[in-house]
């Protein structure tokens, strides 16, 4: 085992240091150091939960998905040879888990004609609104968030995932293709269809916003 590097979870890691830190923590976690694993989870939790949340739209489910991804990482630790970075591995796992969840949810709704269990809860996309903005701006931001969620819900799981990864996470198409194990051409087609859907649904709003600016 390499020299002990157990930090408190409050330590923040700058990016260049993070990669070295991650390697050491990974080594320690592989040797059964539970605190090192917890440290790895703390390092990646925000990005991973945020990705899951953007994909499934519900915070609670997003945390469940993120948790499952970390548990799978824990199980894979003995065989994790570091060919891909932990972040990439987690992104891939969360994307796949989210796609599975979205498909199951769609089927469930189809069969039981029901709305989502959490549909009565406040929309997490309310967080889109900036607290420092004026009430009118906040209202518009909330409305945009709600409409975005509506459009996203209409998209097939894979199309939605491609859109979220490219538009919101800024992941290049080549990486999306590798993450979702799709051909680049397929990813491009999914992205274009998602954008077309947004143009249909968002066209009028965008026009109105454009005119008021």
């Amino acid at each position: 085992m390499k020299g002990s590097l157990v930090m408190t979870m409050d330590d923040s890691c700058s990016l260049p240091v993070q990669s070295v830190t991650e390697d050491i923590l990974l080594d320690q976690a592989r040797s059964g150091h539970e605190q090192a694993f917890a440290q790895l989870v703390a390092m990646h939790s925000e990005k991973i939960i945020a990705l899951a949340w953007r994909l499934v739209g519900q915070r609670e489910i997003a945390e469940e998905i993120a948790q499952e991804a970390f548990l799978r990482l824990y199980r894979s630790l003995p065989g994790f040879r570091g060919e891909s970075r932990i972040g990439t591995w987690l992104y891939r796992t969360v994307s796949r888990l989210a796609i599975d969840h979205l498909r199951r949810e769609k089927l469930r709704r189809k069969f039981f004609f029901s709305r989502s269990e959490n549909s009565e809860q406040p929309d997490p996309l309310d967080l889109v609104a900036d607290d420092r903005a004026s009430p009118q701006e906040q209202l518009l931001a909330r409305e945009a968030g709600r409409r975005m969620q509506q459009v996203l819900e209409k998209l097939p799981a894979r199309q939605k995932t491609v859109f979220v990864l490219r538009h919101m996470e800024g992941m290049p198409i080549r990486e999306i293709a590798a993450t979702l194990e799709l051909k680049e051409g397929t990813v491009k087609a999914h992205l274009h269809r998602a954008v077309t859907q947004f143009r249909k649904e968002f066209g009028e709003t965008a026009e109105a916003n454009y005119e008021t600016e």
Binding site: A42, S45, R54, R75, A141, R166
Partner: protein
Amino acid sequence: MKPNKPCNKELLTLYHYDELAGAEAQNLELHLQHCSACQNDLKEIRKVLAAVPTPHLQLSQAQRRSFAERVSSQAQQRSKSRAGIWAGGLAAAAMVAAILLLRPVDLTVPNAPGQPAMADFEMLEQLELLQDLDLLKDLELLQEMEQWG
């Protein structure tokens, strides 16, 4: 995309996301100079996508820590339960093996359905003996009748 080539809407989306390679991007730019329909489309794509918000989620240190602790303890629990399952499975397998090894050896071949067992054959022999005794009795009776005339 050359100026005289048909418009390709997918390329506009990819151009917006800066996903076109050098030559492809140059061709599209050339096409855009002459195609007002594509110019308008690109303008609309930019406008619409700029209006699509990106929700941001920020976790406090306490939230991160609590999540990490939850995951970590869950991982240990699963690992323990998996070890328990393995231990249980191994113990059960050992017990079965011990029973098989310590059991007295019985070399009788199990019977296929419909085939008589050894006990059935023994019973059959006894029945035949009984029938023979009955015959003997009948013979004795005949002899007695002959004597009586």
